[in-house]
């Protein structure tokens, strides 16, 4: 189990983060560039020191306390790290790369080579490999010794969609098999949704919300979270009080019937086929929305339905969900 509760400083930038990751579970850390993901990973790995706080794996504290307890150096932390660049050792063969760690385990490595589909590459040099193959070797190399924690820093960025999906599945299966905690950071939700059990939203060094992926979509804690999850914002009003609101709507929650929800008269601007369904670009007043449907709609006026929505005050705080009809969307 990984326990994190720390504050890091890098110049003017401050990061605070707290989370617990059980064995065999994957925590996704999602946030835009500059939100502190890499600082977090490097601090857990021991490559940089936190200002204060604790990182512990299986109850053993890795960080120092700035006084009597010295931090455990990164080379003795038993942590596997895979970054966006595979960083294979160019002067060694693939086999030598995989067994670079003196603690690497033959049987374990053989099993991983099979899981990551890397048979018959052993004698080659990294320069002979494709980007996808190199990244798979990086995973095997990080996992080939008995480690206590796997850290992933945008490990799938830059790979093609198919390989990304395949690798995401393999990595989450292997993490469960090996019963180690895993933390993955990425700035694209698609890289995370497929593999994480818990998602943490990081923005500007602050942990905005942490929870199961479904929970986050069902109840974004702030308008900032809703925006980072890719929701649209529409101006709204609480009918009973007349109070102005912002209403967040996820593209997946917009549909064209049948079925209920708040009605929204929109104009269909453009339609294109995208991954098995049709992406519709809509205009509502001067706001652009995106919605998906199994069949294309003709251009022009249409009625869209909002299956779910999340009202926020203009300051960005959530408003207790009122029964349908109690909120109206303004133009």
């Amino acid at each position: 189990m990984l326990e994190i509760d720390l504050t890091c400083n890098r110049g003017d930038f401050e990061l605070t983060f707290a989370a617990t990751v059980p064995n065999g579970s994957i925590l996704g850390v999602f946030g835009p560039s500059g939100s502190g993901k890499t600082t977090l990973i490097e601090t857990i790995a021991g490559l940089s020191e936190p200002a204060r706080g604790v990182v512990a794996v299986d109850g053993q504290q890795l960080t120092g306390d700035g006084a009597t307890v010295r931090p455990i150096p990164p080379n003795r932390r038993r942590i596997g790290l895979v970054r966006q660049r595979a960083a294979l050792f160019p002067h060694l063969t693939i086999d030598e790369n995989i067994h670079y760690a003196t603690t690497s385990d033959r049987a374990r490595a053989r099993h991983l080579v099979e899981r990551f589909d890397l048979e018959r590459l052993g004698a080659r040099k990294p320069s002979d490999l494709s980007g996808g193959e190199a990244q798979r070797v990086a995973f095997v190399r990080a996992l080939a010794s008995p480690i206590d924690l796997l850290l992933l820093d945008e490990p799938l960025t830059g790979l093609d969609a198919e390989l990304r999906a395949e690798l995401a599945t393999t990595v989450s299966e292997v993490v469960k098999e090996l019963e180690i905690p895993c933390l993955i950071a990425a700035h694209e939700l698609t890289e995370l949704e497929r593999m994480v059990d818990t998602l943490a939203i990081l923005h500007d060094g602050r942990l905005l919300q942490i929870g199961a992926v479904g929970e986050l979509y069902a109840a974004p804690a702030t308008a900032e979270v809703a925006a980072l999850l890719g929701m649209h914002f529409l101006p709204g009003r609480e009918i009973a009080t007349g109070k102005q609101l912002m209403v967040a709507v996820h593209p997946e929650a917009i549909h064209f019937g049948p079925g209920g929800g708040l009605e929204l008269p929109v104009a269909v601007e453009a339609v294109r086929f995208l991954r098995g369904r049709f992406e519709h670009r809509l205009n509502y007043g001067d706001r652009a929305l995106v919605a998906y449907a199994p069949e294309p709609l003709p251009s022009g006026q249409a009625i869209a339905y909002l299956a779910s929505m999340h009202p926020f005050t203009l300051g960005g705080n959530p408003v207790a969900m009122t029964p349908d009809g109690a909120i109206e969307i303004l133009r």
Partner: protein, 267 residues
């Protein structure tokens, strides 16, 4: 018929013929002095020169002093190069500037500065004489002068080689359990080896051929460069030529071995 077609009809490609000629001229210019030297040095003159009593001494002195200088340069220079490449803050930058200044300084000036720093009338000179060493006109002084003349070539070359190693590789080696010393041996040295070998080769050639600083701080004992100078002054050109040939023979093998090592590392 176009010019292009007529050119193609020539039995030999004119372009490559010109290239070959250019290569031959360049080669001749580069090795011209070597050929002249070999041609001017008759075997009998060589035998005569080296059969005199003590004639081999300059060769041995040059070999010995350059070997010691290279040892000192490798030990101290590698550490300095590493700090220049990886150190943060002002000290590594100042060190880099200092080494650069040493590289650019005329060797004669280096010699003068060494006298001012460690000559017999200075505190360092006094301290050295207490342990029966002197930084002027001794074998020890010769080694020091060679270190100052040749060291910067190694330090700057090795620093550049260290800097060329991708830091992400060192980070991975660390995460995979390597201590700093271990990853230096397993990652940095193999990847920077080529650049280090070339820098060592340059430093050796500079050390063996060191003259400017040497003539000021270590006129005695004669190494090959000084012997050439003295022979030239006392007996003229023909007397100096055998030593010049010897100097080339002493200076070349290590660079050639190093270049071969780096060529193999590249493949």
């Amino acid at each position: 018929m176009t010019a292009y077609a007529s050119r193609r009809n020539l039995p030999v490609n004119v372009g490559s013929l010109f290239g070959l000629l250019w290569l031959a001229v360049t080669f001749a210019i580069i090795i011209g002095p070597l050929i002249t030297l070999a041609a001017k040095t008759s075997p009998s003159a060589l035998i005569a020169a080296f059969s005199q009593a003590g004639a081999a001494a300059p060769v041995l002195i040059s070999l010995g002093s350059a070997a010691l200088a290279l040892l000192a340069i490798t030990i101290a220079g590698t550490a300095i190069a590493w700090r220049i490449s990886r150190g943060k803050g002002a000290i590594p930058r100042i060190a880099e500037l200092a080494v650069m200044a040493m590289l650019l300084m005329p060797p004669l000036v280096i010699g003068l500065l060494l006298i001012f720093m460690a000559g017999p009338l200075t505190p360092i000179g006094a301290a050295l004489s207490k342990i029966h060493l002197s930084a002027t006109n001794t074998f020890f002084a010769l080694v020091i002068a060679e270190v100052y003349e040749a060291g910067p070539y190694y330090v700057l070359g090795a620093a550049a080689a260290f800097s060329s190693v991708d830091r992400a590789l060192e980070e991975q080696a660390t995460m995979l359990g390597d201590s700093a010393a271990r990853r230096f041996r397993r990652i940095v040295l193999p990847l920077a080896g080529k650049g280090i070998a070339t820098s060592l080769a340059m430093a050796w050639a500079r050390a063996v051929g060191a003259f400017g600083a040497v003539i000021i701080v270590a006129y005695h004992p004669y190494g090959l460069p000084l012997q050439i100078w003295v022979s030239l002054n006392e007996s003229g050109l023909p007397a100096a030529l055998p030593y010049a040939l010897a100097l080339i023979l002493v200076a070349l093998p290590i660079p050639l071995i190093m270049f071969e090592v780096s060529r193999r590392a590249r493949d």
